[in-house]
Structures are given as C-alpha cells and as structure tokens.
Amino acid sequence: MAQILLKDLRKTYDQTEAVRGINLDIEHNEFVVLVGPSGCGKTTTLRMIAGLEEITDGVILIGDRVINNVPPKDRDIAMVFQNYALYPHMTVEENMSFGLRLRKVPRDEIGRRVSHAAGILNIGELLQRRPKQLSGGQRQRVAMGRAIVRNPQAFLFDEPLSNLDAKLRVQMRTEIKKIHQRVQTTVVYVTHDQVEAMTLADRIVVMNHGIIEQVGTPQEMYEAPLTRFVAGFIGSPAMNFIPCRVVNAGSGLGVRLSDDITLALPDVQADRYRGHVDRPLIFGIRPEHMTEQRQHTNAQQIDFSCTVSVLEPMGVDTMVFVEIDGTEVTARAAPRSVSPVGAEMAFTIDMNNMHLIDPETDRVI
C-alpha cells in the first residue's frame, strides 16, 4: 500500500512517442483509472509502472523509492492482464501460488493466503482445475486471485474486463469495486471504456495522444471538462458539439447556433464570454441537458424548436436526433413527449450545463 508518483514520464519507440511527459500523483489506497482511446499511451504507462516496459525518460516512484531500474519482481506490484495470462499447464491453485513459491514463502503460509483469496473471490471449488476448464469470468477471478495472494503495494489492471461479454462485464465491474473495498490497496486500472472509468474510479485520468488531458473525480470530469476531448469522451451518449457564435442580443449576450436559433445567455454567465463576441466557437451540450420543453424554474433554461429526423427509444428515455444548421444533434426526451419524425418539436436547453469551446485551442472557455 503506497502512493505512486509519475514525474515527466516519457516513452519513445523508434520515432514515435507513445507517452509524452506525464505527471501524476496516485495516492495511498486510491483507485485511479487511466482511460482514453486506443493508442493514447495508457497501457504503455501502466506497463512502465509494472516494469515491463523500459522508461525512456522521467521518474516513477512507488512509496518513496525510485523504481526506474528495479526489475518487475522487486517492485512489489501485481498485475491483472487483459487475456488473464494464466499459466495453462498449472492448476488454479498453482497459478495463484506461483509467485509465492518463487519467493520461497513457507508452504503453510501459501496455503493460508490462497484459501483466503479464494474465499474473497468465491473460487474455492475451482482450485484443482486448469484454466482451460474455466469460463471467462472464472479465469478473470483467478487472475485477480493471483494478484491478491501476493498482497502487493499496488494492483495494476490492464483492460481486465474487455474479453468478457457485456453482462458479465457489468457484474465483474461491481465485483472489482467490492474487492477494492475489502482489500484496501492502491489500484491503477486501464480501460478504454469510459463507463468503467466512471463507475470504478476514485479519480479518472483521461489520456489522449500520449498526454494527460485531465485528472479529476468522475463527477468533475462529467460536469467540468477542461477540453473538447474530455467533454466528448466522458458521458454516454456523447456530448453534442455545434458550431456557434456569441453575439450581442438585446441587452445581453446570446449564443447563435443558426439563422433561426439564438439562445440567450443568462446574465450570470455573460461576463465569462464577453471577450469572445463574434468569434467562431463550439457549443457543447449533453443530450440529457437538451430535453422536451419543460416548465421553467429559472432563467437558465431556454426554449427553441427543431424538426425531428430520427427517434431511438431507449425505454426510460427516447433519443431524438435533430439537425441544427447541418450538424446532427441528439436530445434526450421523455418518451411520451416526443413528436413524430418530420414534425417540429419544442426543446428546452439547460444553459447551466452548456460549455463553450475555443476551436483553436480545443479548450473549454
């Protein structure tokens, strides 16, 4: 159990830079999720922490020890791999105890730890089986068991759920969270699935093109993204991005989305955007903040109407697709309030939850 510190971490393969200077402070017992699209450097970062990948530049500390040149086995970490990486010729018990046997842990101590871990994971009956005889979910548990018996300072997870079917994935997600609550340890977890990141993380690290875009709690990432990438990556369905301009409208400011639609900016927000009047910007709004017309409780909510082009019922809500000045926009509406395809429908946008993005820097203003 320790904190992990990454200082200006870099990784270069031949000509390509996979990781381009990462600074991250992972706290004691914290569950940190590295998330991003494939090729963003998240797995490379994890493998550098594990010691499976050499560090081109920068420093990694586990506890207060610089571990750049410490071999993986001496870093006191355990890792769960995407393909589980169970030794096919060993039984579950042998798989779990392999690391301990190599470290010459006394036999009765090994037995005690294996049965403890098997108890946590509910795999007591599987100990004498071989990996081939296990289902995907069971293999996943064994892979975690192998990590737990080691009682390491940190757990590293490399996309551990991506080989499971959708239902099992959700189940194992909850399982992992429970296990973390039981086995209090620092966890670094890599995934490309933002839902996994949101549900599991104490803190999310969004990576893109080898750098960190933003670090924060799941709620912060959702409510206050700093960049267009984070805004689009976190949240499902994804945030709408509509080209716009901030214009002078009457006494205050307005966001002009098209010739027909100009949304009045509430006065409280006006100051923030006054410097950007008449510049081309991007208006970001999540589908859940663009709903069927509702009774207003405050001035932050603005009405407008649009023609419905596609409907996707989800049960709880219906996704309504409309076109605003050539851009497809998704709204999330109560099923009973939706207009049929081709008809006009009135929407309410919650301006409290909108973001304006500078297209030159891709940063949220």
Partner: protein
C-alpha cells in the same frame, strides 16, 4: 426388325453408379487408390521382408524356411551386437544433442533482431540440402590428408609455436591432426556430429514454431511473479513446449535409429565395424554379401524397438488431445 431393349434394365455401370450413393460403398471406393499404394509399396515389401528373415535366402537362390535361425546366428555374432549397441548409442547421444542445441537455437531465433527472418530461413539449409551431397562435403572435411579441420588446427599450432617464440617451424609437419574417420572413437563422434548438424534445423524450427505459440503475456506475468530468465524457461517455456518437443524427439528417434546414409558415405561402418549401425549392417549383409535372409533379420530387429517408440508417441498425442 430389332427387338426393343427393355427400358428399365439397368446396365452394370448404372448399377455401380447407384451403389455409390451409399456412403459406405463410396468410402471404400475413394480409399481404394491409397490402399492399393500402401499394399504395393509398404505392406508387400514388409511381409516379404519378414518372410525372407525366416529363410536362408541368398541372392540367386529361392531360399528355404529355417525358422528363427537367422536371429539365432545374429545374437551369436559380435558384429551384430556391436552394431546394435552402436545404434542405441548413436541415437541417444545424437538425439540429446539435437534436442538441447535445438532448444537453445530456437530460443535464440525467437528473439527479435535484425534479419531475423533471413536467419531463421538459413538455419534450415542443412535440412534442405540432399543428405548425400552434404555428407560428401563432410567426408572431404574429415579427409585424412585434405581435412580443412586439420589444416586449421595445424595453422593454429604453427601460430602458437611462433607466439611462444620457439623455433620449431621446420618441424611443424609432425602435427598431422587426428584421423577423424580412422580412429574408432573419433569416427563415432564424427558421425554423430554430422547427424546432429543435419538434424538440428528440424528441431530448431519445430521448437521455434512451438515457442511462437506461447502468448507473450505469460512471460509478462512470470516477470511480475518474480521469475528470472532461467525460471521462466523452466516453469513457462518448457512445460508449454513439451507436447511439440515430445513429438519432435520421438520422430527424430525413429529417423536416427534407422539412419543409413551418413554412415554409409562417411565410414561404411568402419573402422573395424566401430560405426556400424543396424541399417548399414543390414545393407552390408543383405546387399553386400548377398545374404538376404540375414540382412532382413537385422533390419527387422529394429521393428519392435521402433514400434514401442511409436506406440508411446500415439498414446501421448491422444492423451494431450484429451487434455
């Protein structure tokens, strides 16, 4: 006026064609060509061989049945016992070297390096060149007078003498170098060396193929579990390559045990029968001396031994298949 043919009477051909609709009949028909080849080229010579080993057939005579007489005579013969022991020794030593060196070579070739593919392909060369040709080249290298090994040794000997400052140069001729194929122990070693050289590529490439099926994740996991390079080999590589290794080794035992070409070209069994193998002895007795009955008996002596090896292989493959 002609009598009208009965329309429904099926011709023989038509009846045959109809019976092909039955899958069992069709199966035998399709198997027939292969079965015929096996009978002509394998079963018949084999049965004939067994029969001849029970006769006193000499070239040109029909031969009469003498029961196990040939075998009795063989067990009383020193040459046969030497050849049998030589075959076991030759096979064991050569296979051990091929397996160990082959594994080592495969592990090296499995690394990523520049020109890896060309290197891997060129390792196969000894395997591709016809054995007779490459063995002739070896024969030349082992030659008593023109041996390139001895030439090199002599040159190094000379170097050593001049480095030591001894004026023995005019005397260098006294170092002739070993008679590779003339000394009994060296001759066996030389024959084994050539067999290892020739068989190594097969082992290396088969093992390499086996190594490449091992997921790299397992080595990452072993790294984190705390396995050193040697322990990774022992606990991960070796158990996972075992099925491939057993098949390759057993196959090689069969081929090495029955090896003929190397010895025939290099030593013809000499010196003093010290390198005779069962195969070369069988040839010498049967073809060389025309004593076909005895030759067949020597050759058949290999049968029960190889049968045990092959049965083991089949049993092992089946067990692995189940697991």
């Amino acid at each position: 006026m002609t009598t009208p043919q009965p329309v429904n009477a099926p011709s023989l051909w038509a009846r045959f064609a109809t019976s092909l609709e039955d899958q069992r009949v069709l199966g035998y028909v399709l198997m027939a060509p292969a079965l015929l080849l096996i009978v002509i080229f394998i079963a018949y010579p084999f049965v004939l061989g067994v029969w001849m080993s029970l006769t006193d057939k000499i070239v040109g005579t029909p031969g009469t049945y003498i029961g196990l007489g040939n075998y009795e005579r063989l067990f009383a013969s020193d040459i046969f016992l030497t050849a049998a022991w030589n075959t076991v020794f030759f096979t064991t030593v050569a296979t051990v070297f091929k397996a160990v060196l082959g594994m080592w070579l495969a592990v090296l070739l499995n690394r990523r390096f520049r020109f890896a593919n060309i290197t891997r392909a060129s390792v196969l060369l000894p395997f591709i060149v016809p054995t007779v040709l490459s063995t002739l080249a070896w024969l030349w290298m082992f030659d008593a007078t023109f041996s390139v090994f001895n030439w090199t040794l002599r040159w190094m000997w000379q170097m050593e003498i001049s480095i030591l400052g001894l004026v023995l140069k005019e005397n260098w001729g006294f170092f002739r170098g070993p008679l590779w194929l003339g000394d009994p122990d060296l001759a066996m070693a030389s024959v084994i060396l050539v067999n290892v050289w020739r068989g190594l590529p097969f082992f290396a490439i088969s093992f390499l193929a086996g190594l490449q099926t091992i997921p790299p994740d397992l080595y990452d996991a072993a790294d984190i579990d705390g396995a050193s390079g040697w322990k990774k080999f022992w606990h991960v590589t070796l158990p996972l390559i075992k099925p491939v290794a057993i098949v390759v080794i057993v196959f090689s035992i069969v081929v090495t045990f029955a090896d003929f070409q190397l010895v025939y070209i290099l030593t013809r069994g000499g010196p003093n029968n010290e390198t005779h193998l069962l195969a070369t002895l069988a040839y010498q007795l049967g073809m060389g001396s025309g004593n076909i009955g005895q030759g067949a008996a020597v050759a058949l002596f290999m049968l029960p031994i190889l049968a045990v090896v092959i049965i083991f292989q089949l049993w092992y493959l089946r067990r692995e298949g189940v697991r």
